[in-house]
Symmetry: C2
Subunit: 339 residues, 2 copies
């Protein structure tokens, strides 16, 4: 949808994965073996039987942003590795806990941690990932490590606020578009904004550059969430790794759902979402209502608008052209994926 | 059991509660209102209906240690307030998550957070408490704030290791006394050691003083756990705020249980603990086995030994006599409580 090289996976993703992998493994290696095994499974390093896996899990978008923003302000990617690793750890802490809170049994075509190992292991694994993030970041040399840790704390608190709002919204049918966009900014935007800001901080950027890159990340995050919400309803299960229409069944107040709740069939849709979980029989009608409201198209517009704002934030902050171009590619990639 | 003023609640506990209360409230006030409400309930500030409560919950032992150790190295209690608050936040994060992981439905004579608000709220509340701890500590002025944050991270990781070991032990009957003592050092000792070390760090103590006070806290923690494990089996429910013999029913490998598993009726006891949860009918026999093995007395000796080591650690580090005396009182108080 966004033009440009959206469908190609940017090279920078593979490069950053190689840079952070060893530090990430050392961090996880600090844990008690059984807990480290749970996390190795979650991160895609091991399969369900504990055997090592060759292909890496996840796309490493967040750590890549951190390394590229460091380079974009004239720093070295190496200096930002602790930030990139901390980001990846906090992101995965949130995934492990969110899957349990949301009752999601599948991620990336595999059972989620709680579904495979139990709730207690999932809680503890998430807690460990969060603590390791600070361990990695606070060990990172000078004063910028502390500034980075504060940035990470604020982003984590914003992310928690977003998850809290998301949970509150489940029992409401009067959520406004403004509210759900703000929730996305908290739940998804904050950590991607932090990914971009951390690199700028650790790479020695000035306050203006940090702020511009934080804004870039925030808009990328909201655009990404708009795409993700569309996939959560219309995405093919073999692409998303989740059951079809899973968000809709769970009454999540995602962007398209909130949009349709202000559309032509608002009353009927609200009625469907006020009952228990949506049945298979009700799904086709729910999808009709969403189409009639133009909710899918509205999400595409939200994504386009925030992608444009993200790209605009890259201008005017005196960033190095090469890394800034790669940042733009990543933004287009995450927004354009599978659309 | 420990002689001295064990039965009297030290004045320092009430004083420190007053010092930290406002900072603690401000930290919780940063959260989304519904989540802040959950935490206000957990901390005993509100009742189940959301009404404010007058009497404070908990004994604030950990923050008191932090404030006193700051004074013991010649610093001001005020300088250590961010450390004390961070400690109280991390401690409560661990309580909220542990109650859920262990399936405990009651704490301090009230429903636990997950039992009252649900698992998802409990997970998120714990996550928020942990993140707030770093927010408070990293905002605490100078370089010592960063050193303190690293100390807190390491302690949190040790605590998580202890919880992981505790969970692993549930399915084992061959846990040794060394293993269970090490688990206690991780699960309980690490955070109390951190409480003592943080005050020394923020109060400007030298490395030797920080190490001595960390050791003091670690021994207090292990002694406390030995007492707590005795209460978990023999404590009256109206004192512990938990159901009678709750630890035993859940097959927890606490100190007395592990001791009795090496005692005269080890085979029979192991058999009882290998089945599902212990029935009411089996409880009297299990208690007989523990008595016959002298497990309760052994725990008392463990507590006495570590209390003595804690008090010894206070000597020889050139600590201010007044605060050091109060630290000794606290140590005797937490070990002597209800014994």
């Amino acid at each position: 949808m966004s033009g440009g090289p959206a469908a190609t996976v940017p090279d920078s993703l593979a490069r950053s994965r190689a840079l952070i992998q060893r530090v990430l493994q050392n961090a996880v290696g600090r844990l008690e073996p059984s807990l480290a095994g749970v996390i190795a499974y979650h991160l895609g390093w091991r399969d369900q039987d504990g055997n090592e896996v060759d292909k890496p899990g996840g796309k490493s978008v967040r750590p890549t942003l951190t390394l590229l923003t460091a380079e974009s302000v004239g720093g070295r990617a190496e200096d930002a590795v602790p930030g990139a690793v901390a980001l990846e750890l906090v992101h995965n802490f949130s995934l492990v806990h969110d899957d349990l809170m949301d009752g999601d049994r599948e991620r990336r075509h595999r059972p989620t941690v709680w579904a495979l190992f139990g709730s207690a292991e999932a809680i503890l694994a998430g807690d460990a990932l969060a603590a390791l993030a600070y361990a990695v970041l606070l060990d990172a040399g000078d004063e910028s490590g502390r500034t980075a840790a504060r940035e990470l704390t604020d982003a984590t608190l914003e992310m928690i606020r977003g998850q809290s709002e998301d949970m509150d919204f489940e029992s409401r049918i009067d959520v406004t578009e403004d509210e759900v966009l703000r929730m996305c900014a908290h739940k998804t935007g904050a950590l991607i904004a932090c990914a971009a800001a951390l690199g700028a901080i650790l790479g020695g950027g000035d306050d203006g550059q940090v702020a511009a890159l934080r804004a870039f990340g925030s808009h990328v995050g909201i655009a990404f969430q708009a795409v993700d919400d569309v996939l959560g309803i219309w995405g093919a299960p073999d692409v998303t790794g989740k059951p079809a229409a899973s968000d809709l069944r769970q009454h999540k107040k995602t962007l398209p759902v909130v949009h349709a709740l202000a559309g032509p069939d608002a009353g009927e849709f609200a009625g469907m979402l006020s009952e228990g979980s949506l049945s298979d029989a009700e799904l086709p009608r729910a999808l009709e209502i969403l189409e009639a409201a133009g909710s899918r198209q509205w999400c595409a517009e939200v994504a386009e608008r925030h992608l444009a704002q993200a790209l605009a934030a890259l201008d005017g902050s005196d960033l190095a052209a090469g890394p800034a171009g790669e940042l733009a590619d990543i933004a287009r990639f995450v927004v354009g994926r599978d659309f």
